[in-house]
Symmetry: C2
Subunit: 308 residues, 2 copies
Amino acid sequence: MINKLILNIKKTKAPIVVGLDPMLSYIPEHIKAEAFAEFGETLEGACEAIWQFNKEIVDKTYDLIPAVKPQIAMYEQFGLPGLMAFKKTVDYCKEKDLVVIGDVKRGDIGSTSSAYAAGHLGRVQVGSQSYAPFDEDFVTVNPYLGSDGVNPFVKVCEEEKKGLFILVKTSNPSSGEFQDRLIDGRPLYELVGEKVAEWGLSCMGEDYSYIGAVVGATYPAMGKVLRKIMPKSYILVPGYGAQGGKGADLVHFFNEDGLGAIVNSSRGIIAAYKQEKYGKFGDENFGEASRAAVEDMIADIRGALENR
Amino acid sequence: MINKLILNIKKTKAPIVVGLDPMLSYIPEHIKAEAFAEFGETLEGACEAIWQFNKEIVDKTYDLIPAVKPQIAMYEQFGLPGLMAFKKTVDYCKEKDLVVIGDVKRGDIGSTSSAYAAGHLGRVQVGSQSYAPFDEDFVTVNPYLGSDGVNPFVKVCEEEKKGLFILVKTSNPSSGEFQDRLIDGRPLYELVGEKVAEWGLSCMGEDYSYIGAVVGATYPAMGKVLRKIMPKSYILVPGYGAQGGKGADLVHFFNEDGLGAIVNSSRGIIAAYKQEKYGKFGDENFGEASRAAVEDMIADIRGALENR
C-alpha cells in the first residue's frame, strides 16, 4: 500500500492528506437541517450530516489529493451510528481511489493488538468465512507497549500489503512531557524512531517501508533529525495549518527525492469556508472552499520543496 | 464511580475484575452452532455467539464480583456488529450493577481525546439533545501524548463522576522497551506514575481518586514502588492467571487498608472450562466453570492479603 500511496502522490504532485475529522460545529447549517429533518436530532441525524459533509468534501477534492485520514474518534464519539459513518466514509474514499489512513492510534498487548490489526487492516475468520471489517489501507499505532504491541500490526501489514504510521513525536503542545525525556542523553522519540526503522525492515515496498511514523509539523527541528534516523519510513506530518505548521517548516521532513513525507491538514481544509480567506464561497459552497484550501496547501508545500 | 467500585469491592470482598475478552476459539461449539444457525457464518453470527457467551458468564458470576472489563478490541475486530455486541455487554453488566471498565486504551491530542472521552464516558450534543453513546464507567487511557491528551478525559470524569485507569507499566513482555528506560536515573513508568498521582488530585472520591493506573501483575516489584508513588490511585492489575501473575505476587499492589488494587483475569475465567482443573463441568456448563474459577481466584487473592 506504500507503493500505491507513493504512486498517488506522484500522480497528484501533492504530498498531502486531508483529515476527515468532522465536528458538528464545522458542518454548515443547511446540511445539519436536512439531516435532522430526516432523522431528528439523534445520533443517526448527526451521522447523516457528517456523512453528507464528508461526501461533498471528497467529491470536490479527490482528484487533487492522494489520501485521506479520517480520525475515528470524531465518529466513535457518536457511538454505533458514528462508526457506521466512519465505515461509509472509508469505503467511499476507496471507491474514489484514495488511500485511506485510519487515524485510530490503537496499540495494546500482543493478542489484543492482533485483534485491532485484523479488524482495521486484515481479516477475521468466522467459521469457514473470512471478513475485512473496517479495511483501511493504513492505521496509526501507539508504541507505548513496545515491540510485542506493534508486531501483530506489522504481521498483518506483511500479509495484506497494508501499512502503519507509528506515533513517534506527536504535534500537541505537551507531547514533550514524556516523548522528549532524555534516555542516555537522547530523547525518547529518537529511540522510538529507531525502532520504527527496525520494524520497517521486514516490510519494504519498492523504495519505502510499509511502516511509517507520525511526527508533528509543529516540531520541524525534530523532524529533521528523525528523517535521518528513519530514512526508509514515510512520515505522516499532522499539525499543518490550524495547529500552526507552515510549508517552509516542513521541507526537512522530506528526503532529497522529494518523497518520504505526507502532510495532513484537517480543520484548515474541511472547515475552510469558515475562514475569512475562503468566506466568499459561502456556506452553501463549502466543498469549493475546501478545494481552494487544498490548492493553496499544495502550492505552499510544492513551493517550499522547490525552494529548499 | 470510584466510590461505587470500592463499595462493590467491599460488598463482594473480591478485589477482582473479570475481563470479558471473548475470542471465538474460547466459545463452546454449541453456542457458535446456535448463533451460526440463526445468522450464518457472518460477523453478525460471530457477535451473537459472543453476546450469548458473555451473558452466560455474567449471569453465573455477577453476584461474586464488583466489576467487569470488556476489551473493546475483541469486539471491534468484528466491525460494527462487534461494537454492537460490546455496547450490549456494557449495558447488560450495568443492569447487573457491575462497574464496567472499558478497556479501550484511547489517547490522542486534546480535541480528539475530548471526542473519545465524550463517546465513552460522557455525552455528545446533537442540536438540543444529548446522548451518552457507550457510557462505560471507567476507561483505560494511553499516556504517550502527555497531559493535553489526558486532561480531556479527566475533565469528563469530573463532570460525570466517571474514572480512568492510565497505562503506567503494562503486563506484556516487551513493556520495558520504552517504559523501563531510565530518565535522570528513574524509569519512565515512575514518571508516568507521578503524573497519574498529579492528574488524580483534581478528581478525588471519598478515599481514592477517580484517576487510577494500569500496572501489570507480571511486574510485582515495580508494583510495590508504584503503589507508594500513587497512594490515592486505584491500580488495575492485568496479567493474573493466564499471563503468569499469582495472588502472592500481588499483595504489594494493595494499600494497608486492603484496598487500592483490582486484579483482572480474562482467559483464566472466561475460558476456564477448557482447563483440566475445570474440565469436569463440560462445555455445556462453561458458565459454572467460570464461577468456580472466580471463586478460586478470590480465595487466592484473599488468602494472600490475609497472609501478607
